[in-house]
Subunit: 230 residues, 2 copies
């Protein structure tokens, strides 16, 4: 039995994911959760190392109610996560909020925090599929045109799963929440400076043979994508 089969109540507001501040920013909505997770490139894994909490950047993938992480079997940081409570956080910064007073400066953002017990995936079919999910998350459309992992590579790879049962989503959007007095006084610019991530032109590898163009899945990422209005 794996613990990621236990919970099937998405976004259950357990006490420890109940937001203690800014409750109005909490959105217990599964579509919002999936959107934040699916738009991310890296997550931050919260894990106990030597008895202290550490946040480590890593790539990931989502399949339904399961998040997958992977790494080398020699990666102590990931080994430390097995069968322990961890967190997985994905954050997008959408803009900086300029206010009329210092204390009302803020960020527009979307963030998801998942908490739960990480389990080692041992089923070979699930492990294979998890690798596909992770690569396709980072590089949609690439899996089918590259060499898949061989037996030796898979033997050197650890796959961890985390259930999405306990999750919270926080977002902020819109302009500054200035005090009435500061608005009345006036004279200070206030607003939002939007921020977005942009892919640049593909850079072929030095050792790429001539005559191979960037494939459609790579070129497709260069198409401007609509971003949330901050």
């Amino acid at each position: 039995m794996s613990t990621h089969d236990v919970h099937r109540n998405p976004l259950s507001p357990t006490p420890r994911t109940t937001l203690t501040r800014s409750k109005e920013r909490g959105a217990t909505d599964r579509a919002a959760l999936d959107a934040v997770l699916d738009a991310g490139l890296v997550c931050h894994l919260g894990v106990l190392l030597g008895g202290s909490p550490v946040a480590l950047p890593t790539i990931y993938g989502r399949l339904g109610d399961t998040l997958y992480l992977h790494g080398s079997t020699g990666a102590g940081n990931l080994r430390a996560a097995i069968d322990t409570d961890i967190s997985l956080t994905v954050t997008h910064v959408d803009g900086l909020v300029y206010a009329r007073s210092a204390m009302h400066f803020s960020m527009n953002y979307r963030s998801a925090v998942i908490r739960g017990r990480a389990v080692l995936v041992t089923d070979e079919a699930e492990r294979d599929n998890a690798l596909r999910v992770i690569v396709e998350h980072a590089a949609p459309g690439a899996w089918d045109r590259v060499r898949p992992p061989n037996r030796k590579e898979m033997a050197a790879t650890m796959v961890l799963a985390l259930d999405l049962a306990e999750a919270s989503v926080k977002m902020r959007s819109g302009g500054p929440n200035d005090d009435a007095g500061d608005i009345e006084t006036g004279g200070v610019w206030a607003g939002v400076l939007p921020l977005r991530q942009v892919w640049g032109e593909p850079i072929p590898a030095d050792n790429l043979e001539p005559g191979i163009d960037a494939p459609a899945d790579v070129v497709a990422r260069l198409t401007p994508v609509a971003v949330p209005v901050s």
Copy 2:
């Protein structure tokens, strides 16, 4: 006495920050650390909540060897960090590395992880200055033209400090590290798709009075900035 006065050996390679993988990516270099920290907008705070590690996005600022965090005195997440071991991680994703085989897909990134004991700052002058440092980190040049915090706002604000003594920096850049066999086989595009963050045009607040242009410190951010070549 505050623990952030104890350590003065920047980037000391204590056992728990010694990298167990990819040692060649570890750069025990203070300038690199400062560059990663100073270029970030949010960090992820690693903190124990209810006995489990959680990574939470938050803004921060750096002054010399000290990182500052702030929040409402009612923010349980930040209160939980006081006088406990925490981590603070800043990550920049610079590009996605497309390889000829699934297992060699990677990210180009710069990441700094600071570990140490967070202390509550109680000195009023240091608290005032920390707020300035945090706002100037997020919005360089804005502090002097907005209303500073008043006594009531400062009373509702917690400031935490973390010493930079125990830190590690990891980076990856460049193209894919494909296997010789896959390079020889050929026929698969490989390279890097660079990623960068771009500020958009300032959006004035709905309640901004007419005739106030975006100030120079805001407009200055729109100037294209050189980014590391992935």
